[in-house]
């Protein structure tokens, strides 16, 4: 089977939708964060695909940037979750709605 650009794009779209479903449907905040990572990497995959397609390295650069920021974001996000758990003893985002107006 010949693997071309379309396959990569479809895989990226599928991963993005799975991640999006996870963010919306799951209650556990860790899973939500995980799904968010999935969406991010789906976009990264798309970036690299188009980069290859056009023979332009800017897409790669973007991907590396996004990966770095995502790593930092995960570190901060997990630390916040630990802190929230320490105070609230829960990671259920339906319970965590202190910002209600």
């Amino acid at each position: 089977m010949n693997v071309d650009v379309t396959h990569y794009l479809v895989l990226g779209a599928v991963l993005f939708v799975i991640g999006g479903y996870g963010v919306i449907a799951r209650k556990n905040i860790i899973i939500v964060l995980l799904s968010l990572e999935l969406m991010l990497n789906a976009v990264n995959l798309t970036f690299v695909t188009f980069s290859r397609m056009h023979g332009d390295m800017i897409g790669h650069v973007f991907m590396i940037m996004a990966l770095t920021v995502a790593a930092a974001e995960v570190a901060v996000g997990l630390a916040l979750i630990v802190a929230i758990y320490a105070h609230r003893e829960t990671v259920d985002i339906d319970v965590l709605k202190m910002l209600k107006g």
Partner: protein, 657 residues
């Protein structure tokens, strides 16, 4: 040297104010109050003495100069350079300002000395001398300025000092109110004055005295100028003078200004500040001589003021109020002089009035001091034996102001009155003569009720009545001396000639070298000559004195009968009520103003506040609705966001098709 005349009082004010009145000396240095009083008592009058000596030296140097050279000008710096408009900090000493400076500095010095005794028990002793020094500083700026803008600085400055000193005992709300009243009424006059200055600049493109007056007196200028512009300038300046010099209709602040300490009344509200308007008119003689219409208005207002204030003074019972109305009346005489073109005569009356009115006020202060702040002459009487020096000097002042022959007021008042007649102001002259009768009457009444007859002092106080300390009676004696002999500087020419003197009117000769020369406006072929006019003035004075002597010394029952008689009672009430001018102002101006304020307060509360409050109300109410969107449910936010993204994509797809 001119600069130091002005700066010396400022130095006094700054040191007295910053070091002592602020409490810096007592709190931060830890000095004692006793030492503070000693330093202030030396410094306050001391700096004025410096000014007085310097101005005397310059005055004698001025005498040595002739004609147009008879002046000193010192330019310090250009104060406002602004395109074609420049105003310099420039001082001018010419005969007119020299007379003013001598009066201001020497009378101020005597009153400063007097204040040491009068104010010795006051706890705001340093503050008092600070204000007094500030006053002298601004007064000297006013008279020494060489342009209208700098004169206005002094003009406003003395207004400030006057306000501060009237309300000196500000804990008493009526006194604070009197200070405010003086300040606000003066604003009306200042409004006219500042318009006059602007108009002068528009017409003459300068505010400098020499340039303006040279242009105005140049031949053909008045004829070439727009119609009536000189009259308008003259009248606007006169409005300023009406405010500051308490003429009708703006005189109402001066009687109330008596709320201040008595030396202040003597200095500011009798001898110096209130005469600033007379000085200004004499300074601007070019405008007035060029405008007979303005002259007629000035003389008419002045004559009416003089008469009105004299009638009010007849029935008042407060010793200082009588003197205040007397001041208003005498200022009317001065304006009759300068307004009719007899500038030297008006200035001469200013000089003699400064002596005898300061004397009378300080004498009144001495009485008030002796009687524990009592000012009502119905509770005085028979205190001549206890206050011999005060009584004698007060009598000298009374006779001087009444025009008793050969005292200072005799020469100056007669000079004005005969000038009025000889220049054709016959009606005004008659009013002046009648006012002279009234003046002599109310002044002798004041003297007799205060010092002579049966004592009406309450019993426990009667034993404590005492003559004032030396620092108070010495100025009285000096001023009495000048009230006695002050006239010799201005013996009229016709009288001098018959005495074999040449140039007997030294004062007029001195002053007129600074006045622009005009052809004599004396009308020839009048019915009366100089000597006859003199007789009228003398008779007027004696009639008033004799009437008062009979009514208040010999047959003291008559005044009570007059008050009770049906015919004269309304007149008495009218005079006692001070022509109800204050009430008329209250009805015509203050009450409508208050109603307008209420209306605008209503508008503010309901319309303006309604608009502002309404905006806030709408925002608050709509926020209740929008708050529901902020649910705090994270998944809902994500869902909405996803739906939004989908919506945008769908929209873009359909648009692309």
């Amino acid at each position: 040297m001119l600069l130091w005349i002005v700066l010396a009082p400022l130095v006094g004010a700054v040191v007295n104010g910053l070091v002592f009145a602020t409490g810096f000396w007592r709190r931060s240095v830890g000095g004692s109050e006793n030492v503070e009083r000693k330093i202030v008592s030396a410094l306050g009058p001391g700096v004025i003495l410096v000014s007085a000596v310097l101005s005397s030296i310059l005055f004698f140097r001025l005498l040595g100069l002739e004609g147009d050279n008879r002046r000193f000008i010192e330019e310090m710096f250009v104060w406002i350079p602004s395109g074609s408009f420049t105003a310099s900090f420039e001082l001018l000493l010419d005969p007119i300002s020299a007379v003013m400076v001598l009066v201001v500095t020497w009378v101020s010095f005597l009153i400063h000395v007097y204040s040491i005794g009068y104010m010795h028990a006051d706890r705001s002793y340093s503050r008092y001398f600070t204000y007094l020094n500030i006053f002298v500083f601004f007064m000297l700026i006013l008279v020494l300025a060489n342009n209208f803008v700098l004169m206005f600085v002094g003009w406003e400055g003395v207004g400030l000092a006057s306000y501060l000193l009237i309300g000196f005992w500000y804990e008493d709300s009526t006194k604070a109110y009197a200070g405010r009243k003086a300040f606000i009424v003066n604003r009306i006059g200042d409004f006219g004055f500042i318009l006059g200055i602007l108009l002068i600049f528009f017409v003459f493109s300068s505010v400098n005295y020499q340039e303006v007056f040279a242009k105005a007196s140049a031949p053909g200028f008045v004829a070439a100028a727009p119609d009536g512009i000189i009259t308008i300038i003259a009248l606007l300046l006169f409005i300023g003078a009406v405010g500051k010099s308490a003429q009708f209709p703006l005189f109402v602040w001066l009687p109330d200004a008596m709320a201040g300490p008595t030396p202040v009344s003597a200095l500011i509200h009798a001898a110096t500040m209130v005469t600033a308007g007379v000085y200004m008119l004499a300074r601007c003689n070019v405008f007035y001589s060029a405008s007979p219409e303005a002259q007629l208005i000035v003389v008419s207002v002045a004559a009416f003021t003089a008469f009105m204030a004299a009638t009010i003074a007849l029935t008042q019972n407060d010793i200082k109020k009588i003197l205040a109305y007397s001041t208003v009346s005498q200022l009317g005489y001065m304006f009759m002089g300068v307004g009719s073109g007899a500038y030297a005569a008006g200035m001469f009356h200013l000089l003699t009035h400064a002596f005898f009115k300061a004397l009378l006020f300080l004498g009144a202060g001495s009485v008030i001091h002796a009687l524990a702040q009592e000012q009502d002459i119905r509770k005085m009487g028979g205190i001549r034996k206890d206050l011999p020096i005060t009584a004698l000097t007060f009598l000298v002042g009374t006779l001087a102001i009444s025009g008793f022959p050969f005292l200072s007021g005799f020469f100056s008042k007669d000079e004005i009155l005969s000038n009025l007649y000889l220049r054709g102001y016959t009606v005004h002259w008659i009013i002046g003569i009648v006012t002279a009768v009234l003046t002599a009457f109310y002044m002798l009444r004041l003297y007799l009720l205060t010092f002579e007859g049966r004592s009406r002092v309450p019993g426990e106080l009667r034993l404590k009545v005492h003559e004032s300390p030396r620092s108070m009676w010495l100025p009285l004696v000096i001023l009495a001396f000048f009230s006695l002999i002050g006239g010799i500087f201005g013996i009229p020419e016709f009288m001098g000639k018959s005495l074999g003197l040449e140039h007997s009117n030294l004062f007029e000769g001195f002053i007129s070298s600074a006045l622009h020369s005009y052809p004599s406006s004396h009308i020839t072929g009048q019915m009366f000559g100089h000597w006859t006019l003199l007789m009228f003035s003398v008779i007027a004075g004696f009639v008033g004195l004799l009437l008062a002597y009979n009514l208040y010394f010999k047959k003291t029952s008559i005044p009570d009968e007059i008050v009770k008689s049906i015919l004269l009672k309304p007149l008495y009430k009218f005079s006692l009520g001070r022509w109800f001018v204050d009430e008329i102002y209250d009805f015509l101006i203050l009450r409508p103003y208050r109603e307008l304020s209420k209306l605008s307060a209503y508008f503010d509360n309901f319309v303006i506040d309604g608009l502002v409050g309404g905006v806030g109300y709408v925002v608050r109410e709509s926020s209740y609705v929008l708050r529901a969107a902020q649910s705090g449910i994270l998944r809902l936010y994500v869902g909405v966001m996803a739906m939004g993204v989908v919506a945008i994509i769908v929209y873009m797809l359909f648009r692309a098709l």
